[in-house]
Symmetry: C2
Subunit: 478 residues, 2 copies
């Protein structure tokens, strides 16, 4: 077991240095590594497989709600980016500019897309003519670039991977419903598939997306008490439609502007998975998206029949699960550590004595609980235990979030919590941006969202003491 201890020691403990623990997990679990390109990461096979599973799960949900994938250009000409004023102001400072093609200087600069509202609108202006063309429910999977100063794998990188949905609707009502529908899909995906509890709410004016009328968000709380905005859904009204001159003939035969939404979830959700479920032994993956759901480790592999049995079990499980058999020469101890580090939800141990007894041992990654299982009911037990892992992860994360959510009724109290107790702070707000900025300056917290589930914590704004009707979640954020 010497080797196992050594491996475990290789990562910094969460308590010692949470940021270092995070990057250690990213590297040792082989999710990603730094590249020679500043601020860009190499997503390694294990991280890519995780992202592909996330994509497949979301694609199925998008398709079931009538959405179609498209592929838009990587570049946005400067004049196109400038068509919507708020949008360009929000994004121009952080885009990468292409100025030369080969040796030739371009007449017009192109930016590498930081988001694609402008490209979609340009296309929609070509293809939307009648109410019969609506709704348009498009989505794309791609990478986008934002010129960030400091970067961390998955959480904040210059290039990141995401999906961006862009839809056009006949009425404001339809578009607002879509905005909410997609937020609910994200919330359901986060909670059911990723076992990450989230708070659903609306961003304040200050925090909303550049060009949007309103931005909805799901906010998750990480192990260290910092918040992570996990997906957003925006309602644009007809602002872009007007800027891009997108018009359709309505049912009443008048020319109208369609109403727009966009919504996105990015590779930073992998950061959320790591920081919600991970522990000092490494990654812990929610089964629905784990590249390997069950790893089979033969015990006393050299003994007759063990490897054959392990292969049989692999074949059986492969029919319904993502399964890996590790029949390498590495020691059992090394393998235990390795797959704990990689966060594989279930470990299946099979040795000579198990074979005699027609059984195997299943070990849950989330709580290390062992269950001896008859091989006759293997598939059923694996299904049951994978569900138990998801439920266990969700319950644990929910409990932690509840324990780390505080209420404050005045500035002093809020500052004291912000300084000493990491987590969400629920507090009333008068609605003035000035108070929002003051809380940021004094206590270092930003508004996370105006949750859909409101509570009346007190009657006054936590900052200015004026009458306040909105309860907000505040916190430090990634």
């Amino acid at each position: 077991m010497a080797q196992q201890e050594k491996l475990v020691k290789e990562i910094t403990s969460m308590k010692e240095d949470f940021a270092k623990w995070y990057t250690d997990v990213v590297k040792k679990a082989e999710l990603a590594s730094y590249s020679g390109v500043r601020g860009c990461m190499v997503v390694r096979p294990y991280g890519t497989a995780l992202w592909e599973n996330i994509r497949n799960e979301l694609n199925a949900r998008f398709k079931a709600t009538g959405h179609e994938n498209v592929m838009m250009p990587l570049f946005i000409p400067e004049s196109l980016l400038q068509k919507e004023k708020d949008h360009v102001e929000g994004f121009a400072p952080e885009v990468a500019w292409v100025t030369h093609g080969g040796d030739e200087k371009l007449q017009e600069r192109l930016c590498v897309r930081p988001t694609s509202e402008t490209l979609f609108c340009d296309h929609y202006s070509e293809i939307i003519h009648s109410y019969r063309d609506l709704p348009k429910l498009y989505n794309q999977w791609c990478s986008v670039v934002r010129w960030e100063k400091t970067t961390r794998p998955f959480l904040r990188t210059m290039e990141f991977f995401w999906q961006e949905g862009h839809t056009m609707h006949e009425t404001a009502k339809d578009a607002i419903e879509e905005t909410e529908r997609m937020l609910n899909i994200y919330a359901d995906f986060a909670e059911q598939c990723l076992a990450i509890p989230v708070v659903k709410g609306k961003k304040t004016e200050k925090e909303k997306f550049a060009g949007a009328i309103s931005t909805y968000t799901i906010e998750a709380l990480m192990h260290d008490g910092k918040a992570l905005q996990s997906a957003t859904s925006h309602y644009f009204g007809d602002g872009f439609s007007k800027a891009f001159n997108i018009q359709f003939t309505g049912r009443d035969n008048t020319l109208q502007y369609p109403h727009q939404t966009s919504w996105g979830l990015s590779s930073r959700i992998i950061g959320a998975i790591i920081m919600t479920h991970g522990d000092d032994n490494g990654l812990v993956l929610p089964p629905a998206v784990a590249p390997i759901e069950v790893v089979i480790l033969p015990i006393a592999m050299h003994k007759e029949g063990v490897l054959d049995k392990a292969r049989q079990l692999k074949q059986r499980l492969a029919a319904g699960f993502r399964v890996k058999l590790d029949d390498s020469d590495n020691s059992a101890g090394w393998k235990f550590s390795e797959y704990e580090m990689k966060g594989v939800p279930l470990r299946l141990e099979i040795g000579p004595r198990d074979i005699v007894n027609n059984q195997c041992v299943l070990v849950r990654r989330d709580n290390m609980e062992k269950t001896v299982v008859s091989l006759d009911e293997l598939e059923a037990k694996v299904t049951e235990l994978l569900k138990a892992v998801r439920d266990g992860l969700f319950e644990k994360a929910l409990r932690r979030r509840e324990e780390m959510t505080y209420s404050a009724t005045n500035l002093e109290e809020l500052k004291d919590i912000a300084d000493n107790r990491p987590g969400f702070i629920k507090a009333m707000w008068c609605g003035e941006q000035e108070c929002e900025e003051k809380l940021k300056d004094i206590a270092g917290v930003s508004s996370r969202c105006i949750p859909f589930e409101q509570e009346q914590i007190s009657d006054e704004c936590v900052c200015c003491g004026k009458s306040a009707k909105l309860m907000l979640y505040w916190g430090k954020a990634y």
Copy 2:
């Protein structure tokens, strides 16, 4: 049927103007449309679904041969691109350069990847240390950018979509085997899934990839007699390994350089599908990658029971096929034209009389053959007919290629064929680049490949008359 005629008339006939026919099909079948970004296309839902099916088919083949997907950075710093001399010379003139991030001028320019050998090598130098780390069999799906002057959707665009495999091996033999394995996978995919017959061969020194020792290719012949390079597979030896200082400890405990391959297939394969199978009614799609394999068109839809029956059939077929029911108000004639234009392999017609007779009509897109099918054996017949469509398409394309493949034994003959009969020209070559260039100048043909299946057309080089042992395919190319 007036509307059907009208729709058909909307596209230019192949004979009249092949290039215009091509762009008409791209637009009317809604595969792609031009974007406001010069040289970049918008791939629409139907084109994206086609590309996703291509990706799924190839991914399954890559996975079955042990390959893993990764995601590499979009940018290559100038210094990294310059590490391998032949490679940078080949690509530097056609890359897009990022010079500014926000308002800041970059200290080092970044190019948008035109291909990712340099990025993979940079990463491999970090993770390859021992022969135990080999082979590394990575692939990525992404878009790349090459600064093209004139562009056409799918065939030549500034940004295009592709997969690029990059592998590292212990020995030259292993790497060469991989290069051949991947070429064979491409050829098999092209012929079995896309029904496109291809010639497998090796590129000449002049035509090989920048930095490669040898480039293998599959070449297909389009309807108009022009060749289309449909996928390539490159063997690099250890040139990049040395340039990037990638070294591993071998089995004999000495430091060695690994041997490298790369291979790619791009969205121009969609151009090949269009120009191999399409006709004057539009697109014709090979079933294996068609977004819709069967379209169900209810006839006399308003009659009682028709729509219910159509929905029943859709549900039955959806279990095993990609199926669409068009229950819109458009006329049957309009629908016939629409799905012919979109190249749906099978059309299923169901009307009141069919229901009484417990039957339906299946119509093949490739030859418009109608088959009356008992509903009791619907699934079996659909399977059979989809296979027949694939076989029919392949046979037709193969016959055409054979008819359009000529032999030439001297320059005059070759020039005469090149001027008057579009197609492949088989001719002997002495091996001198001078002759290759001369044929380009005089007859406007380039060497397509040195086919693996050699024939002795004559004993002398078609150009200089010197002794020649190699038979080449020559032609005009996209």
